[in-house]
């Protein structure tokens, strides 16, 4: 796609804010950028109003860096903390009404494919656990059953952090919160299992205390969604306010939770493996050579 839309109108460059000039001249558009180069280029994400030390922000930042073609990516979000940061990025952001994000993304993906044909346009939904597993549950699942080709990322902070700490479907059983003083009575929803049943081609869990893994998972999910089918990533992004985690201990908590109940997992269909290995050189998914038959 043409990168003209991120450039200045001739003659206006010198009047643009420094951040804008840096983005056009030293941003990642049209380049191959990786997490290891962070700090040496202008990032797509700008300043945002999220809380200090928020793990969700860190995940969003890493996810946006990891987009394989950021100039051809559109993010979709909904109410919740995450949209405060996702909307402060130099790529288009569409705000769906609460719970509508996967429905909006379905229409958007289809429309983009009609308009741009075979040129890939990546649609990435990033929404919280409430928007995705509770209020937007039906639309999320139906988009998967319909095999809509876009990526769905759940920013799972296991609470309604934006509205004072109510339990969500993704909150763990017995968890006491400010607005759930007796503790949650039910188990955490198995969205990973449902994603597999509903036909997602790539499903992964990830915790942002491993930036390179976040990058790898996001890239694979977005690429699989281009051709094969829906992809789903569930990311543990703790709410340090509602769970009272000191900001300098957020990564310690992420590591503890990862070791305990949020281990990295990856599910990928054979079709998606073949696609990634053939088109994008993912060697780990190449078919293994047949083992030599033992001598008789």
């Amino acid at each position: 796609m043409s990168l003209d839309y991120v450039k200045f109108t001739p003659g206006f460059g010198k009047f643009m804010p420094k951040e804008y000039r840096d983005m056009v001249e030293h941003g990642p558009f049209g380049k191959k950028i990786s997490v290891s180069q962070v700090g040496m280029f202008k990032e797509i994400l700008e300043e945002h109003p999220m809380c200090a030390g928020c793990a969700m922000t860190l995940f969003i930042r890493l996810a946006i860096i990891a987009f394989p073609n950021p100039e051809d990516t559109i993010t979709v979000g909904t109410a919740g903390c995450g949209r405060l940061a996702i909307s402060q990025a130099a790529i288009p952001f569409v705000y769906g009404n609460y719970g509508d994000q996967n429905g909006v993304a379905s229409g958007l993906t289809r429309g983009l494919r009609l308009r741009f044909g075979d040129k890939p346009k990546d649609v990435v939904v990033m929404a919280g656990d409430g928007g995705m597993a509770d209020i937007g549950f039906a639309q999320t699942l139906h988009s998967w059953f319909r095999k809509e080709k876009f990526t769905t990322i759940m920013l799972d902070n296991e609470v309604y952090g934006n509205t004072g700490g109510q339990e969500s479907g993704m909150t763990n059983r017995n968890q006491v919160l400010k607005m759930a003083p007796l503790g949650k009575k039910f188990e955490k929803m198995d969205m990973l299992g449902m994603a597999k049943v509903a036909g997602c081609a790539y499903v992964a869990t990830v915790v942002p205390n491993n930036p390179r893994r976040v990058e790898s998972v996001i890239k694979k999910a977005v690429l699989v969604a281009r051709e094969i089918g829906p992809s789903y990533i569930q990311a543990y992004t703790s709410c340090n306010i509602e769970y009272a985690i000191p900001t300098d201990k957020v990564m310690e908590d992420a590591k503890t939770v990862e070791d305990d109940r949020y281990k990295f997992s990856e599910y990928i269909t054979d079709e998606a493996k073949e696609y990634l290995s053939q088109l994008y050189g993912y060697k780990e998914y190449l078919p293994k050579p047949a083992t030599a038959v033992g001598k008789q």
Partner: protein, 107 residues
């Protein structure tokens, strides 16, 4: 006054881990200058903080102390930190960034 992260260039430029740049939740706040250590005869570049964007969460301090085990980052009061990097003074180059240091109070 409030706390911001401050990176000891001497310690940072003796390593090349860049972990703090990857773990900061704020974009373009902890940046990396490949040439920072050369003046002091050190092997690598150093990370530095654009203090006007730092929200003071100290996540980088935990990462530097516990994951990298370099203990190069400390939280310091903004008015006692001396000259430091500000976003308006950051210059990006080809796979590098640098900043002219200025007073965080007066700019």
């Amino acid at each position: 006054m409030y706390l911001v992260a401050n990176i000891d260039t001497g310690i940072c430029a003796a390593t090349s881990c860049k972990l703090c740049t990857q773990y900061c939740p704020e974009a373009n706040t902890i940046l990396y200058n490949n040439d920072a250590g050369k003046d002091k005869g050190l092997k690598y570049g150093s990370a530095y903080v654009a203090v006007d964007r730092c929200k003071g969460c100290a996540q980088c301090v935990w990462v530097c102390d516990n994951m990298a085990k370099h203990n190069a980052i400390k939280m310091e009061m903004i008015d006692q930190i001396g000259d430091t990097a500000l976003t308006q003074n950051v210059t990006y180059g080809e796979k590098n960034s640098s900043a002219t240091l200025a007073s965080p109070i007066r700019g």
